[in-house]
Symmetry: C2
């Protein structure tokens, strides 16, 4: 083993120890420990939206079976086990489509920006309205604690009847 290899291994071990010490792994969000759910990309659509401004994205909001049932039945608060996945993409004008249409008008989904997960567990996340949050870029949990704390701070501003959820179901 070369000196470089030894050094590299030492750094790797130190990094792992540091992650372990924090109680977090790179696949789970800070504060909540939320992971990217298996198979979320195959979930059904709750709704779609466009956020202008700093986000400048276009998004699909998907739900697991419990979420879809609750949205369709109008059940509030959402039952434990509800998971909502918000997939955002760069909001892009489509030259390819506009070439075909009579006027420039087409905006499409570019590269993925991030995926945000909201999980309902009324006991585990009792201090944040029963919701745990996570943000993922390229499948990796964003490690920023200040960022993750903005989730509930913002959702908490919604009318109580919405159970801290922005999306409405689109038929």
């Amino acid at each position: 083993m070369s000196r470089l290899q030894v050094l590299t291994s030492a750094i790797a071990v130190a990094s792992l120890s540091s992650v372990a010490a924090s109680g977090l792994t790179s696949d789970s969000s800070p504060v909540y420990g939320v992971k990217l759910p298996d198979g979320y990309r195959d979930w059904r659509v709750i709704t779609v939206a466009h956020e202008a401004g700093k986000n400048n994205d276009i998004r699909a909001v998907l739900g697991n079976d419990i979420a879809i049932k609750a949205f369709r039945d109008g059940t509030r608060p959402f039952p434990d086990g509800t998971i909502i996945a918000r997939l955002a993409y760069v909001y892009e004008s489509s030259a390819e489509n506009d070439k075909v249409f009579p006027a420039p008008q087409s905006f499409v989904a570019g590269k993925p920006t991030n995926v945000q997960i909201s999980i309902k567990d009324s006991k585990k996340y009792a201090n944040t309205g029963g919701w745990g949050y996570g943000q993922f870029e390229n499948g990796v949990a964003n490690p920023s604690e200040p960022l993750i704390k903005t989730c509930f701070a913002c959702h908490a501003k919604l009318d109580a009847s919405k159970d801290f959820v922005f999306s409405h179901y689109s038929p």
Copy 2:
């Protein structure tokens, strides 16, 4: 049976005969005879988009299993049996969301406008690149023949490598 009931029945029979004579039913599109596929609202997402201009909608593009596999694998032309469902909703500024955000920025899906279906059957629809089309409002096929003829006229303008399909898959 009152006179009104007799008259109503006579009108109903006349309407049905007229529909039967045209070879079309109110659940299938003119020209192509495309029906709204069972369970399409439960299909997986291909992508999302916003059309400004006259459409002024925000849309989810869904696909049946054959469509999703073809998009993920990059298979072109699409195999027979591919069905793409484009669900459009009124593009609406959300006062409810903007109240919570630092600046007005949120655009959401309002009421559904229409659902457009594209079905691949290379033999049945050989004259239109292998694609049959239908547009549905509230589950009812739009009966306009001029309207349905605009579908392929527009899709045909795309680059041949796209097999007459606008959407790209969003991961």
